[in-house]
């Protein structure tokens, strides 16, 4: 064990950040940076990405800017056993893309029934009311995975991108104290 250091251990890991594709080239960056640079999505279409950003922002303020849609998109593009999504811990069965695709459909169908518009087009107040009802499985005519499960998975994703990073800890004033820090503060 003599070669095992203490805090600040020289990392052997090479998997500290996410790989995004820019101009056909893989670039390593945090999801927030990918969003800021307008990196194209691999799997999500524009509407799906917009819906995930709106849901994420309603659940956890700053999730949009932190790149929740880019995070989910990138994670859906890797093999399930490499995915870091909370869906894995919530016993969602791969492929995880099915969960997100059907969740977005369920949300929009219910949103149109309740408010006459897709979720992303609702006011912040209506989005908030919708999410509150979804959390309690209190949306009439809801189809697909229970609303509470959608709430739980997406909230966890939003918590990840806003609070699960080194920046997130810093914003809350919590010392991160990594043994092996994730690269580029992710």
């Amino acid at each position: 064990m003599a070669n095992i250091g203490r805090r600040g251990f020289v990392k052997g890991a090479t998997l500290g950040v996410l790989a995004f594709t820019v101009g056909g080239v893989e670039v390593i960056m945090a999801p927030g940076e990918a969003r800021a640079r307008n990196v194209p999505f691999r799997l999500l279409d524009a509407h799906q990405a917009e819906t995930l950003e709106s849901l994420g922002e309603t659940l956890v303020p700053q999730a949009r800017e932190a790149g929740i849609a880019h995070y989910i998109d990138q994670q859906l593009s890797v093999p399930p056993h490499e995915a870091l999504l909370q869906a894995r811990i919530f016993n969602v069965r791969p492929p995880f893309a099915d969960f997100y695709r059907t969740a977005i459909i369920s949300v929009d169908e219910s949103s149109r029934r309740m408010f006459g518009r897709d979720f992303a087009q609702l006011s912040a107040t209506d989005q908030r009311e919708f999410v509150g009802r979804m959390r309690q499985n209190k949306i009439e005519g809801w189809t697909g995975r229970p609303g509470a499960a959608v709430y739980g998975v997406l909230r966890a994703d939003a918590v990840d991108v806003v609070y699960g990073t080194m920046e997130g800890y810093e914003a809350l004033g919590i010392p991160y104290m990594a043994h092996i820090p994730p690269e580029k503060r992710w």
């Binding site: 052997g12 739980g152 966890a156 004033g173 820090p181």
Partner: protein, 522 residues
């Protein structure tokens, strides 16, 4: 590619498999561990809750059903080290009453052995891999044994702040025994109290298999073959002996590995799945399943979480995810009026941002953002683990759906009975009283989904093939060179975190196997 026959093939390189590998390799046996996931190294254990999910279950899913589906993916492991790569390393032991449930309480099963049979192995494991704690302090509740090799871990305000409330409630708390280093131990460093244990400790302060049994097994010549998914245990034509296993390698090619002895150590759900999927004309219900009990009596612990906000900064980022304090005061089976079952009470643990958010899963939007700021300073929790009685209906069986290798998926059905629900409620109510007496500004119970923790049973031990699957060592009643290891062989679960007992039973079983080797191979 044909592999050379080995003495022992062990399916699963987690807590129990690594003990068998270490003991048997040191005894001169040719040992092979097959694991379905990657071969993790310490340098893979990034300090991040997000990256830490890489060591959680992947591969073929277990289908989860029942009123209280098991939190399988949160609890299980993936790859070499298994769940013990990310476990919390709480090391309470079972108590004598847990071994005599039927005769003392008319519930569940008696174990075919007593506490006294296991006690020397608790002490041996503690000496081998290192345990920090105060054995003397625990002995107000349990028979005396050896002192732990290391003094207790440090405590922090997030644990200390609860002591007033426990004292007022008449619950003595003592230092919790943990499989972590309070001081340097056998060349492994002392803990830094950074709270990243649950994503894997890369410095070797926590006794995960990589730095303990597995490391020793490898040194003694054991081979670990990662990305090897076992689908069947093979038998001779007469069905009297196992001859090896069938598995799929990292290139998804089918392989056969011959062995003199097979040890199934793939956790409580996968072991029954393998036994059931290994049915032959001589064993039409599955291997070792003349009793029809393979897959039955699955058990989990329920957890009563009480959270509280205090006026002061409790420094909840400091410590380990294991607990600082523990008590067996509510362990007697009738501690709560009108409720049956043991409870194991704990206090003081580090939390990360996901824990802060999960402590109020109902909050979202600006209320969550505001809560996170307050919780980062003022939140602390206590937990009471509760016992569930073995129930025949809680079971693993084969589903009609198949995995990528054509093996039927496992279906795990689990529901808590009314005793368990009543005990959980009693523990939550007591938790609120303790929080109030501790001076908490706000306190609440984590209600909603009843949490499951740990997974036991499915291949229980007993006195014969009429009432169990294996004997007290884990040896099949029906096929002498087929063994099962891990929490699946527990016939009752008590309320204690199981891994210390898993290590102890595995050490006992492996030593037995080594000493009886001639009878297994002839």
């Amino acid at each position: 590619m044909a592999y050379e026959k080995v003495d022992v093939v062990i399916v699963g390189a987690g807590a129990s498999g690594s003990v068998y590998a270490s003991v048997l390799a040191k005894a001169g046996k040719k040992v092979l561990l097959l694991d379905s996931g990657p071969d993790w190294e310490l340098s893979d254990l990034i300090s991040s809750e997000i990256w830490g999910r890489r060591v959680k279950p992947a591969g073929a899913p277990i289908l989860l059903e029942g009123k209280n589906p098991m939190a399988y993916a949160a609890q299980g492991g993936w790859g070499v080290g298994g769940a013990a790569l990310h476990y919390f390393a709480n090391f309470p032991r079972l108590l004598p009453t847990d071994f005599r449930m039927k005769s003392e309480h008319g519930r569940g099963h008696d174990w075919p052995i007593s506490y006294q049979d296991v006690a020397p192995f608790y002490d041996k494991v503690a000496r081998e891999i290192g345990v920090s704690g105060d054995a003397k302090a625990e002995e107000k509740w349990r028979p005396a044994g050896e002192a732990y090799p290391m003094p207790p871990m440090k405590t922090f305000r997030n644990g200390d702040i609860w002591m007033k409330g426990f004292e007022a409630s008449g619950i003595p708390m003592v230092p919790a025994p943990v499989g972590m280093n309070s001081v340097e131990f056998k060349g492994r460093p002392a803990c830094l109290y950074d709270g990243w244990c649950h994503v894997g400790c890369p410095i070797g302060a926590l006794a995960n298999p990589q730095v303990t049994y597995l490391g020793e097994a490898r040194k003694a010549g054991a081979e670990v073959r990662a990305w090897s998914t076992v689908t069947r245990v093979l038998t001779n034509q007469a069905g009297t002996r196992v001859t090896g296993v069938e598995y799929y390698d990292d290139k998804h090619q089918k392989q056969t590995q011959e062995a003199s002895v097979v040890v199934l150590a793939a956790w409580s759900a996968q072991n029954p799945r393998l036994l059931l999927n290994s049915a032959t004309d001589k064993h039409p219900k599955g291997l070792g399943n003349a009793s029809g009990l393979v897959g039955h009596f699955m058990m989990s612990h329920h957890v009563a979480n009480t959270w509280a906000m205090f006026d002061e900064d409790v420094q909840n980022h400091k410590g380990t995810v294991a607990v600082q304090y523990m008590s067996y005061e509510r362990y007697p089976k009738k501690s709560h009026d009108g409720v049956f079952g043991s409870s194991f009470i704990t206090a003081g643990f580090a939390v990360k941002t996901a824990d802060l958010a999960n402590s109020r899963a109902d909050l979202y939007g600006p209320e969550l953002a505001d809560y996170m700021k307050r919780a980062a300073r003022n939140l602390a929790g206590i937990k009471a683990f509760g016992e569930e009685q073995p129930n025949m209906e809680n079971r693993v069986e084969l589903a009609s759906e198949k995995d990528a290798f054509g093996m039927p998926l496992g279906r795990l059905t689990h529901s808590f009975d009314s005793d368990a629900v009543a005990l959980w409620n009693a523990n939550l109510e007591e938790g609120l009283r303790i929080a109030k007496a501790s001076g908490a500004k706000e306190a609440w119970s984590a209600r909603g989904t009843m949490p499951t923790s740990h997974l036991l049973g499915g291949t229980i031990m007993g006195t014969s093939a009429t009432n169990s699957v294996v004997d007290s060592y884990g040896q099949s009643h029906e096929i002498p060179n087929l063994w099962v290891a891990g929490p699946g062989i527990f016939p009752t679960e008590g309320a204690s975190n199981p891994t210390f007992t898993i290590f102890a039973l595995s050490q006992r079983g492996a030593e037995r196997m080594a000493s009886q080797w001639g009878t297994l191979t002839n």
